[in-house]
Amino acid sequence: MAESVIVAKNLYKIYDLGETKVRALNGVDLDVPQGCLCAIFGTSGSGKSTLLNMLAGLEKPTKGNVTIAKGRIDQMNESQLAVFRQKHIGFIFQSYNLMQNMTALENVALPLTFQGVPKEERKIRAAKMLKMVGLGKHMEHRPGQLSGGQQQRVGIARALVVKPEIIFADEPTGNLDSATTLEVMAMMQKLTREKGQTIVMVTHDNSIASYADMIVKLIDGKIVSTEYRAVPVQAQTVIDSETADSEGKI
């Protein structure tokens, strides 16, 4: 089995709401190997987003520790985390969160801008990413001029452009219809297969979870089962890598 890139030990997150305490995470141990597409699956309120945020270093755990790509992110301060995220982490949002006043190309280039990459290089790398997700023809479009699926692909390109070791995605297909969901899932499978990147995604949909190599099931802030699939369901779509590269039409 491949080396672990994400190790969480004894994670607790307790929200103190005065009279009541919400145990969003109640002692979670997790170990995600490299190149794995991991799905965190559970019902609403089970603590999926809380776990993901903790793994991505967006929130501090009440107790426990998280090691990502050999970095103890629970011990880092805000500015160290920012640098760490720049280098190792990509993030895909459910609601895309693209900058409305920027073109697709500029949006994808944004993390490179934060890294201080020169403008010309940014453009080349962002364009390459957009072509890879099949949006070669939509580089100068603004988010408002793109469909939900296209926007999410811009979001994915943005997460990938810094070549991160780990990609986090909170319900990446939550706003998409079933056909586009399939495209996105196929893309994610391809990334783990071909590039060896690790993806952790959150979903409450059983059928989406079934595309993953590893399914972590959460109930009330506790992992109740971890299922490894040697042969996960293949997300079959109209496009494959070849058509996507050549100015994808969907």
Partner: protein, 450 residues
């Protein structure tokens, strides 16, 4: 992040909210205008006043005066008599900050042309002092001979001629000056007025006849007959040595008017000066030099003295005016802070996304500081532009009115620079706390779907 990218992002988010940005900038524009115009008025008033004064008075001059010679024989007997002589000229010229020491002799003289006569003061100056006065001439040259009594005539003298017979004054009664060319026509100069009127007698009792010298007028000061340009406009100037020897010749053996006498009423052998003008290197050292000379036991007077004190008042006015201007810039700063806070509330999610995507918190703070600074800077630039226009307008209005000044608003280069730096700094200061807030926003804001 690269500085260029920071600027680009700040500018583009300013552009995204054009109306709000313009309104906030407008606040800074008004603030800058008020502070710059106010200070320019302070500076302008001061400089206009100085200009005005320096045409009438030499602000670096300390005038050492002869002690009143009727007082020293009676009341101040024990006091050492202080006389203005060459030894003093020498001594004064060694004082610190003193540039030039110029003794003067004053007397009054009479001009006679036919039946017309005219009284005037005649001042003998050193050639150096004549040169430094920068007299504007309409004709001729400056007097420079030390032997021959050459006269530089004030521009208002000609108007003072009157008829000895009926006391009519052609200029004031008929509106036209006496038709005489003081440089060409045969006009006479009489120094000994007592003799002219027949009051002067020799020791033996015989009447002295006044000597009439043909007037040797070598130059005329520029200006109209009733145009008071400076204190010399209604006087005549000549070389001090020439005047000295002329006086000594005319008053041979008698007391020269204006010269001190001993207890017996006899003149001294030595010739004393009426004034010694001490020129100081800088206006600000005038009072120091004045004090030194006073401590030496001489009376002295500086025209710059009261101007100094009114300048101090003007400095205060300048500060007060600047303060009033600063208040409106502070109001503008509050406007900037408000705009930045609004912008940060609106962009909570955007800031969160940027943080999740790996934007450093310093860069986020920098972006907002730059935004606020740019608002201040643009406001400053536009405000300064308008201030220049306003300053021109004020000066045009003032020059056209009868205030007596040709300008009252001056924007020196330092004020331009200070205005720009100040407005930018104010903007950045106003943006500081909002930027801290943006820095501290949680990246989770990006994840939460509202």
């Amino acid at each position: 992040m690269r500085l260029g990218d920071l600027f680009r992002m700040s500018i583009s988010s300013l552009f995204k909210r054009k109306v709000r940005t313009i309104l906030t900038i407008l606040g800074v524009v008004i603030g800058t205008i008020s502070i710059v115009v106010m200070v320019s008025l302070g500076i302008g008033l001061k400089s206009a006043m100085l200009d005005e004064m320096s045409t009438f008075a030499d602000l670096t001059k300390v005038q050492v005066q002869q002690n009143s010679f009727w007082g020293d024989s009676s009341s101040d007997k024990d006091k050492e008599e202080k006389r203005l002589d060459d030894a003093l000229v020498e001594e004064l010229s060694h004082l610190e900050h003193v540039e030039q020491v110029c003794p003067t002799v004053q007397t009054s003289a009479l001009l006679k042309f036919g039946k017309y006569i005219c009284y005037m003061d005649l001042t003998g100056m050193t050639n150096e002092e004549i040169a430094r006065k920068n007299f504007e001439l309409s004709r001729g040259t400056l007097p420079n001979s030390r032997d021959e009594l050459q006269i530089l005539m004030g521009n208002m003298v000609l108007a003072q001629f009157y008829s000895e017979k009926d006391y009519s004054m052609p200029y004031y009664e008929k509106g036209e000056a006496l038709d005489v060319d003081l440089m060409q026509d045969s006009v006479y100069l009489i120094l000994d007025q007592d003799a002219y009127y027949g009051y002067a007698t020799n020791p033996d009792g015989s009447t002295i006849h006044a000597k009439k010298y043909p007037l040797n007028c070598v130059g005329m000061m520029a200006g109209g007959l009733d145009e008071f340009k400076n204190e010399y406009s209604w006087q005549a100037i000549c070389n001090i040595d020439a005047l000295k020897s002329a006086l000594q010749k005319v008053y041979k053996g008698r007391v020269i008017p204006g010269q001190p006498v001993d207890k017996k009423g006899k003149p001294y052998k030595e010739f004393f000066y009426n004034n010694i003008n001490v020129y100081v290197d800088d206006m600000n050292n005038v009072s120091e030099v004045q004090t030194v000379i006073q401590n030496m036991g001489y009376q002295c007077y500086a025209e710059g003295e009261w101007i100094q004190s009114s300048l101090r008042e003007l400095n205060l006015i300048e500060v007060v005016l600047g303060g009033i201007g600063a208040v409106s810039l502070i109001v503008a700063a509050i406007g900037i802070a408000n705009t930045m806070m609004m912008s940060i509330y609106e962009r909570t999610k955007e800031i969160g996304v940027m943080k999740v995507l790996g934007c450093r918190i310093r860069d986020i703070q920098m972006m907002f500081l730059l935004e606020a600074g740019l608002i201040g800077f643009f406001g400053g630039v536009v405000g300064l532009g308008i201030s220049y226009g306003a300053s021109k307008l004020i000066n045009t209005l003032v020059a056209g009115s009868d205030m007596g000044y040709s300008y009252i608003s001056v924007i020196p280069f330092w004020l331009t620079l200070a205005g720009l730096v100040f407005s930018t700094l104010i903007g950045m200061m106003a943006g500081f706390f909002p930027s801290r807030r943006a820095m501290k926003l949680s990246p989770l804001a990006a994840i939460r779907n509202e």
